[in-house]
Subunit: 299 residues, 2 copies
DNA sequence: CCATTATGATACCTCAAAAGTATTAATAAG
DNA sequence: CTTATTAATACTTTTGAGGTATCATAATGG
């Protein structure tokens, strides 16, 4: 069964007159007669009763007429949707992210994404840096928000957020009350450290900050999740240094001291695989690059 | 977009190899390449990335592959269903009936219909005789259960039920207590009559019964619904004669006396329009004719 | 009742497009 | 550097869809 034959049948079912239907289809009457008979032969069913100079649909014809119309609607919808996928305005995009960005730019950027491309769906997954890099290479992920720079060759990176670091300390800690609290004050205190495996560049930057303050931190605990670091700090188990942005995200009993004086910065980049660049991902990268420019200007 | 091209694409998307896909489609490789490129041109979208000796689907290709598979499933289902409609095992049939048969054979016959043809749906409508005849002629109805015989030329009738008549009287009526109650006893009493317009043959038979008993009934009230007749009789407004079958249907305070002695009979026929005979209706007529034979043998 | 008209079917021809064959270009592998 | 693999290209063949002319049949009008 061919869509052309079905289209012919639909017009004929509408006109119930071979010559008029053929005219509407811009073909002559005999080919129409033939196509319809072929369709009937294929289906093994009479679709029309041709009698007494008048053409009438059989029960099977009525049924086909009703259902075929629905089928054509679906085909048309499918064609349109494939075009939209090709243009990158329809689709599903898998996005990975490090936990911290959920407290900074991700929610508002996803809102913008929904506004700009309402028919693009997202699958979101919080993942450590390296897992995202692997997933992007393998095509299991379309986009990643990672702590940059990453070693990833073959992956493209767009810096989207640059943050200062902040010293963080339990509000209940004896030193928290000190007005001009600085990094050097914590030289002897236990340090809660982000895992170097997950974001080496960021950890290196934090250690560089300490070195500039004249000491090497005493590493007491290590974890790969910002949330865990802050909970440990709040519990009085030590102090830490985190990107300043997370201060807004978690409402805990903590004292933050921004370390804006030093040149060290924590950077988040948007990562994607240029070899597997779908139109939707291309559009999103463009949108997010634009948003990143706005953020920088906005500050 | 053509189903043939779509089928080619589906196989290619499955194989991701032009030569193998072409072999599976029993065509040579160049025509397949051409058809796929035509499909891409029609849709205005790249469906495949042909690079590095390896073929890969784009996002649009992935989308089309998924949706096209569903589309083919629908087309196959449609083809099957049209065939079933042609065979008369799928469809919807409009059935009219006079009220009385709802208390005799209709419920059990519809159960049998559901068992024999589970995919045939029915639209049931209680209608007087003449309305059914008109609707059958106009094609608004496929089948009718009527009091026969009917004047209807051009309609085919199959007798399906022959009933004796029963005299009916309110249980509270003075005469109801009489043990050997007969028609002649009611000569002077007011008679509740079925409308002759609706089923002339049946009313004529009832009057013939009275004439045989030696009197002409004194018509007090007239209605076209059995239910109304029985209610009026129960209220003591008069007596009537009805087909015996209805005695089982209505549980009212009535006394029935079967008039089996006379040759008069009430007959129900299955009526249909042979000019508009769909396969489903043909099957149902055959089934019901069979059931009617069983009923007759069963008695 | 016959001539006329309307309508779908049939016979035959034409042509476009789909499929086939041979070959090429490009790339990966040894 | 050669060989093998794979899709694309050029060209030919074949199929089948569409066109024209005509026929058969049934409704319509005088």
């Amino acid at each position: 069964m061919d869509l052309k034959k079905l289209r012919y049948f639909l017009v004929l079912a509408d006109e119930l007159h071979f010559a008029r239907a053929a005219a509407r289809l811009f073909i002559a009457q005999p080919p129409l007669s033939r196509q319809i008979r072929q369709l009937e032969k294929e289906l093994g069913v009479e679709l029309l009763v041709r009698t007494k100079r008048t053409v009438k649909l059989t029960a099977a014809g009525e049924y086909l007429r009703r259902e075929a119309a629905a089928l054509f609607a679906q085909v048309a919808a499918l064609e349109g949707q494939v075009k939209l996928v090709g243009q990158g305005t329809l689709g599903q995009v898998k996005i990975g992210y490090v936990g911290a960005v959920m407290h900074t730019l991700l929610p508002s950027w996803l809102t913008e994404l929904g506004r700009a491309y309402p028919h693009i769906g997202t699958v979101l997954e919080e993942l450590p840096n390296q897992a995202q890099v692997d997933a992007l290479r393998a095509g299991r992920l379309d986009l990643g928000f990672v702590r940059s720079p990453v070693a990833g060759d073959s992956l493209a990176a767009v810096p989207v957020l640059t943050e200062t670091f902040s010293l963080v300390l339990a509000a209940a800690h004896p030193l928290a009350a000190k007005p001009d609290l600085a990094l050097a004050d914590l030289a002897g205190e236990p340090f809660i450290c982000f895992s170097r495996d997950c974001a080496p560049a960021m950890v290196d930057a934090i250690f560089a900050l300490c070195r500039a303050a004249g000491f090497a931190p005493r590493k007491a605990h290590e974890t790969s999740q910002i949330n865990t670091i802050l909970r440990l700090v709040e519990s009085g188990l030590g102090w830490s240094v985190v990107p300043s942005g997370v201060a807004d995200g978690y409402r805990l009993n903590l004292r933050y001291v921004e370390l804006a004086g030093s040149p060290e910065r924590a950077e988040v980049s948007l990562l994607y695989n240029p070899a597997l660049l779908s139109p939707a991902v291309r559009n999103i990268v463009a949108l997010f690059t634009q948003l990143a420019k706005g953020e920088k200007k906005g500050r």
